[in-house]
């Protein structure tokens, strides 16, 4: 059971960037009849999403968020000595996007920079890695950058995934300060369920070829995708969430020594509105403590938790707030965390 506790490390500031291009889901009807689309959209509760153009990447979105944050806080960039970029849609297979971002952001060559490639759990995983580094002496400030362009991952002709995903990027500045108190993390993995959310082709197991980019009808519903598109078994993902996530949330609450009433906000991965309503009911949580952005930004994978904090809590953190975060998905990989926001700066959302 991987449970971690840190002291005196916290988030100094958060910023987010989203593409300008708004997709109205009711009008996303190129490949499906309008009535079917309305049915799906009403059920998943995702009305708008943001899509980048083909040239813009997840690192560009994160870069825009980072520039906004560092300028808003007037941060001396020479003090940033650690940069982790979290994404499963990097710029290149190599080099790591984090290293490119080190240069673009004008950070010193003494910066530790590397990528972390997990999905919906990854913002919390990334935080835990940065908190670990920060507990040692030697690093003044660290940047957690996190971006996804899931619009480029899924087939628009596969109704299982066509209406769910969106693009966004965030930047979090992490610093040491006793005021943050203790923070707690629970990190988990189950590779036996690797096939539930997967891109089969285009890696080094099934390398890119004419075959992997060929469109195929993949089920009795007539859904179409290639082996280089993402695939999701929604039913078993939901079974997994039901089985593991309430348990993990109870575990992190117990480990933090708090009671569930002591949390100001529960920020869950924005998978679809159905899953979050289910979790609230199962854990008997008050809905007004569960901020949501799924209706306007869709599922942005690992970005959805910090994006929801930036979008929904900006005007609600005048006093210190106790947050419980929980992210779950592709891997399967899941993580929960208890952190305190204290005088955390939240920038206005940037559109690029």
């Amino acid at each position: 059971m991987a449970l971690l506790k840190f002291k005196g490390v916290g988030i100094r500031g958060l910023a987010a960037a989203v593409p300008k291009n708004v997709i109205n889901n009711y009008e996303y009807t190129e490949h499906f009849p309008k009535e079917d689309v309305k049915d799906i959209v009403d059920k998943v509760g995702i009305f708008e999403r943001r899509f980048t153009d083909t040239a813009t990447t997840s690192s560009d979105l994160s870069f825009a968020a980072a520039e906004k944050l560092l300028n808003d806080l007037a941060i001396d960039r020479s003090e940033i000595e650690l940069l982790i970029f979290v994404s499963q849609t990097p710029d290149y297979r190599m080099p790591a996007s984090s290293v490119i971002l080190q240069d673009k952001l004008g950070l010193p060559n003494t910066t530790i920079a590397f990528d972390l490639t997990l999905g919906c759990s990854a913002f919390i995983y990334g935080l835990s890695v940065i908190y670990s580094f920060m507990e040692k002496s030697g690093i003044k400030k660290a940047l957690l950058l996190n971006g996804e362009t899931r619009s480029k991952v899924y087939s628009p002709k596969d109704r299982m995934t066509a209406f769910i995903f969106g693009d966004a990027g965030v930047a979090a500045l992490i610093e040491r300060d006793d005021k943050y108190g203790e923070s707690h993390f629970s990190l988990n993995s189950d590779g036996s369920r690797a096939s539930l959310i997967k891109i089969e082709g285009g890696g080094y197991r099934n390398m890119s070829s004419a075959e992997t980019v060929k469109e195929k009808v993949v089920d009795t519903y007539g859904n179409i995708r290639t082996d280089e598109h993402g695939y999701m078994n929604g039913a078993d993902v939901f079974n997994f969430v039901i089985r593991e996530i309430p348990k993990d949330i109870k575990r992190i609450i117990e480990f933090s020594g708090k009671t569930k009433e002591q949390f100001d906000y529960y920020v869950f991965h924005q998978a679809n509105s159905y899953i979050n309503t289910y979790l609230a009911k199962k854990l008997k949580l008050e809905m007004d403590k569960i901020p949501a952005t799924i209706h306007k930004y869709g599922n942005t994978s690992s970005v959805s938790i910090p994006l929801t904090i930036v979008s929904e809590l900006k005007n609600n953190i005048d006093k210190p707030k106790e947050l419980l975060l929980s992210g779950f998905g592709v891997g399967m990989s899941w993580a929960s965390s208890v952190i305190k926001l204290d005088n955390t700066h939240i920038s206005e959302i940037v559109e690029i």
């Binding site: 519903y221 929604g234 039913a235 078993d236 939901f238 079974n239 159905y274």
Partner: protein
């Protein structure tokens, strides 16, 4: 037990005004789709503490097949 199960299924399938019989093939209902499947998963967990993995679920076709899983 059976009556309660049928009532819960009517909610899941949004078939409150129609009959549901044990030998119906639920996959033929107009409202059956992958999203109804999620509602069914939630109902089975809530009411019967039962989970059916997709591989096993694919073998179930009738209302009675479903009912047998909660008995």
């Amino acid at each position: 037990m059976k009556e309660k199960f049928i009532e819960l299924l009517k909610e899941v399938f949004e078939m409150e005004d129609q009959d549901i019989n044990l030998d119906d093939t639920f996959r033929d209902y107009d409202t059956w789709d992958s999203l109804t499947h999620l509602s069914l998963i939630a109902m089975l967990d809530d009411e019967y503490d039962t989970q059916i993995e997709d591989e096993e679920f694919q073998k179930l076709n009738t209302v009675n097949d479903l009912f047998s899983k909660v008995q």
